[in-house]
């Protein structure tokens, strides 16, 4: 098959792998990566479709670039959210040295 | 929508209780005089406006108010003879019940909320009485459910809440059925205004399935409030509400709304001819007869006074349905006039029951011995109500039963006459013992269960509790004695039926 069709199918496969990862994985950071994979798959499909015409279709290129921008912003936000949550959970499980009193010290 | 006197008067009648009701929500508990003033202003205004409308109608004026709402289904308020009869009954009895409620609640909590919902309930009742088409009727029917629910659960006890849930389950379900019936009818024939003889005669053959289904749906919906079996179970449960609520709602507003709706549907939407042609009246007749007998039998079994009265209501309201379903002018007169008469007599009975429980803590039948000695005037009113229910002349109940019986004969339904007679016997069986106990038995030696007296009390009980039952008992007698005149409920019903049957 020609290169366009090849990259098209690769794109679809990557999309499906990402989707599978999102549904199956538990860890949030890995799920972010899975979503990024889905995005990568879609952009690859867009670009592969662009190569079907000669010269290369500018509209699809524009769509891919716009999609990339949106994906970057969304990933940045997702990472901020996920990392904040991870830090918050670590903070909760760490022993708190700054506590004013523990229940052992309470007066009877 | 032109703003003339003839189009605004129905709205004023509606607003005369709605606006005070909404204002009373904001009144604080301690501001007794403000609240009473608002209440009584509303009552007086309403009676004034109703009087104006009666005067106008007697002079040949037509009162109609329309507001666009849905495509081909505007909201219409129209004062015709049947609606005026119901409006007058509701307004007069609202006056009596307001005074009774003020006395009954005394210094109880949440009076503002109570009276606010009370006023809204009456607004919904006159709204559906004045409704000029099915969609307006549906609107006020549902608003009635919403306005009466807080009154049923007023006490806030677990039993009240349970009764409230049952009440809602039945009435919301019934309301949905009614809505489906109205919507179905609208899709077939558009929502035309109520007119004597109905507006469905042209399409009876073409859409007979649709019309039959719509009728069944609407009767199901109306039958919940009209306490037709097996949709009646909410009514005895709702007796946990305070006595004024039971008196007004379950003797006048809610139950009558259902019966009124059935009258409207059979006479002014379908018309007697179409109803008979579609064979809709026979099943309705059987249902009514079954309810009459079932209600009476269950009433015999009750030991709680209010529950006995509740089952008696179930039975008595079906007289109205029986009269409608018998499809004859005499039966129609009997059914329509019984709407008024039963309202007067039943409210008397509930007022008296409320007096017994509030003054002496008497709730059960066995506790009623010797009431006649302790509370003679209340017991006298109770006797009048009970005898009227049985059908003893010259109290109003006799007139309605007479016409119903004659109507049964006119429609060649001997078995219906038999049902009426058996039911009267059963009425005697469950009312006469109460009367006997009250007058001819000695008071209990250990005293009354929970005697209460009010400061400055001069009569057997608080004057606000005593006056209303005496008033309504007097009206019951007058309605019977003066039945021959045009201004009586009977004369009025004859007028309505003459137009319906084109006599």
């Amino acid at each position: 098959m020609n290169s366009g069709a090849f990259y098209l199918s690769v794109g679809m496969a990557v999309f499906l792998i990402g989707l599978h990862g999102l549904l199956v994985l538990q860890d949030n950071l890995r799920r972010v990566i899975a979503v990024n994979l889905m995005g990568a798959g879609v952009f690859l499909v867009l670009v592969a479709l662009a190569t079907r015409t000669d010269p290369v279709d500018p509209v699809l290129q524009a769509l891919a670039v716009t999609g990339l921008v949106v994906a970057i912003s969304a990933t940045a936000f997702a990472l901020r959210l996920v990392s904040a949550r991870i830090r918050h959970q670590q903070h909760k499980t760490k022993p708190d040295d700054g506590r004013l009193s523990s229940h052992k010290d309470k007066p009877r | 929508m032109q703003l003339s006197w003839s189009s605004l008067l129905p709205v004023f009648i509606l607003l005369s209780s709605m606006i005070p009701g909404l204002l009373i929500f904001a009144v604080r508990e301690e501001q007794v005089s403000l609240r009473t003033t608002l209440n009584l202003t509303g009552v007086v205004l309403k009676l004034f406006f109703v009087g104006l409308m009666l005067y106008g109608v007697s002079r040949g004026q037509d009162f109609r108010f329309a507001l666009p709402f849905l495509p081909n289904a505007p909201l219409v308020l129209h004062g015709d003879a049947l609606s005026l009869q119901f409006v007058t009954l509701s307004s007069v009895l609202w006056l009596a019940t307001t005074i009774y409620a003020i006395g009954y609640l005394g210094k109880a909590q949440l009076r503002s909320r109570f009276f606010a919902y009370f006023s809204l309930c009456i607004s919904a009742t006159v709204g559906l009485a004045l409704a000029g088409n099915l969609i307006t009727f549906l609107l006020f029917y549902e608003l009635l459910t919403l306005a009466t629910f807080p009154l049923v659960v007023h006490r806030g006890t677990p039993e009240s809440l349970r009764a409230g849930r049952i009440y809602l389950a039945y009435t919301i379900g019934g309301g949905t059925m009614l809505m489906l019936g109205v919507a179905l009818l609208h899709s077939l024939a558009n929502t035309q205004e109520f007119i004597a003889g109905g507006y469905l005669s042209d399409m009876a053959e073409a859409h007979d399935v649709g019309l039959r289904v719509a009728f069944v749906l609407m009767i199901l919906g109306l039958g919940v409030k009209a306490a037709l079996i097996p949709l009646h179970s909410w009514l005895p449960q709702a007796m946990v509400a305070p006595a004024p609520v039971s008196a007004l709602l379950h003797a006048v507003a809610v139950v009558k709304a259902g019966a009124f709706g059935i009258i409207r549907v059979v006479y002014d939407v379908y018309g007697v001819e179409t109803s008979t042609n579609l064979s809709l009246t026979q099943p309705l007749l059987w249902l009514a007869a079954a309810t009459i007998l079932y209600g009476s039998v269950r009433a015999l079994q009750q030991q709680d006074l209010k529950k006995r009265l509740a089952y008696s209501t179930v039975s008595q309201v079906s007289y109205i349905t029986l009269g409608v379903a018998l499809v004859g002018p005499l039966a129609a007169i009997g059914g329509i006039v019984h709407l008024m008469h039963q309202g007067l007599m039943k409210i008397t009975l509930f007022f008296c029951a409320g007096n017994f429980s509030a003054t002496l803590g008497v709730h059960k039948i066995q506790e009623m011995d010797g009431l006649g000695n302790r509370m003679p005037m209340t017991m006298a009113a109770f006797t009048i109500g009970a005898l009227g229910m049985i059908g003893v002349p010259p109290i109003a109940g006799f007139i309605s039963k007479w016409y119903l019986g004659a109507g049964a004969l006119q429609s060649d339904a001997m078995w219906a006459l038999l049902v009426i007679m058996v039911s009267s016997l059963l009425n005697a069986a469950y009312f006469l013992p109460l009367v006997y106990r009250g007058w001819f038995c000695a008071s209990p030696q250990q005293g009354w269960p929970a005697e209460q007296s009010w400061p400055g009390q001069r009569f057997e009980t608080h004057w606000m509790l005593l006056l209303p039952p005496l008033f309504t008992a007097l009206l019951s007698i007058l309605a019977g004695i003066f039945a021959g005149s045009f201004f009586s409920p009977l004369g009025w019903s004859q007028f309505i039926v003459a137009r319906e049957f084109s006599l």
Binding site: F15, G18, L22, N28, V32, V35, M38, G39, G41, V42, V45, L49, R52, V59, L60, L63, T66, G67, V70, S73, A74, F77, A78, L81, V82, A84, R85, H88 | P68, F69, L70, P71, L75, L110, R113, I135, L138, L139, E142, L143, L146, V153, R155, G156, T157, P158, S160, L161, G164, R165, L168, I172, G175, T176, M179, L180, L184, H186, S187, L188
Partner: protein, 481 residues
Amino acid sequence: MNYALVSVALPMITVVLLFLVAAPVYSRLQTLVTGGLVIIITVISLSTSWLALLEAAAQSTTSYLAIGGWEDGLAIRFRLTPVVALMLTFTALIHLLLALYGTFSRHGVPKDYWSLSCFLHGSLAALWLSADLFNLYVTLELLSLSAVALVALAGPGAWKPAADYLLLSLAASLCYLFGVALIYGRYGLLDIAMLTVVVNDDLITRLALLLMTAGLMLKAALWPLHLWLPAAHASAPTAVSALLSALVVKAPLFILWVLWSQVAPPVMAQQIGPVFALIGILALVFGGFSAMRTPYLKVLVAYSTVAQLGYALMALGLLLAWQQPEMNSALWLFVIAHGLAKTSLFLAAGQMQTTLGTKRISGLRGATQTTPIAMFAFAVAGGSLIGLPPSGGFLAKWVLLEPLLSQPQNWPWVLGILLGTLVSAAYIFRLVVMAFDRARINPPDISSDHVGQWLALVPAVLVWGMALAGEQLIQLLGEGI
């Protein structure tokens, strides 16, 4: 069209303004100033969209604006129809109500709410106006990002539901984008009006539409892809929950409607119509049952959203199955009535939760005495959800019922509506009855916030007041497109 543009641009400008000028809002004065600014902007936005609505209703044709003056096929176009204008007005109205609540109620909104909500307003308005598939994608993404950010404002407890929502939302958007790519690959067009003419029923189109539908259903929390919604609602701030249920989930519904009623060929639309309608009934039933069983107040309201969206999906499905443009009114009346009622429900729920110090329904015992106005607002708004006359919900249900009842073969669908009504009544009244309990009242923790409770009542009154404009609304919306 100019009015509509002003309506979109103003909130976006305000976002920039708020970032540049205002400090984070801590004190009461800062709340009043920022909130006041947002209120003014939203009022202007509401007025301009109202004027756009009047204009669109008078002309009753679609007007287009090509951005940058480029020619058709290349340009990004904005499209103004009566439905779009109505949605613009509706968005501005909800934002105004919430801005008033945030400024004047003691409960208030989180400090970063203002800029994010203006951003949400702007992106949603741009979504309504969009006329091509990719623009819809971009505005949908903007909408989702701002919605997630708003949910996360509640603090650490909300970060997990927010993260879940974000990831699922991104995945759903990518499914949608994949579908768009396939459509473009097949037809070389993105503009909706131009696609309507050329679309055929073939495998690629089916695949694309199904992908897009799946993504949109997840974003709109349509059963069975709704599981993120109750969790997000339970943790989100009150005003944000209102935004989420009233507005954010309606945007994917709008795109779904555009897709199937305008882009898809009628043959395909007629096939998927009954499927949508059936899913709608299942949403009504299962959402309703979940609402009846949950012990938490906000989760009940969230499941109520899932159930009510079932009505909308039923209307959409039947509209597609029978290709009757009159049923557009049913769909959009539901959207508006539900949006207003849900705003009221969430504001009232938030008030009751804060004042009574409980998140549970059992904590609302006696609420008719402790928080009477909020409870009244809850009951009135609930009445519209059940569909009691003469509320907006009743209006929508009536318009949906008419074509169903007129032909006996359609009567089975009526059972779905009947079930929906009864189930809604069950969960609303479950709460209302408990509120009348006088024997075991849950005493309030803090004094009542009267302003906030009255503000919660305003949307409920509005949704019942919709009845006054019933006939005009039905006519306006029934023209289709």
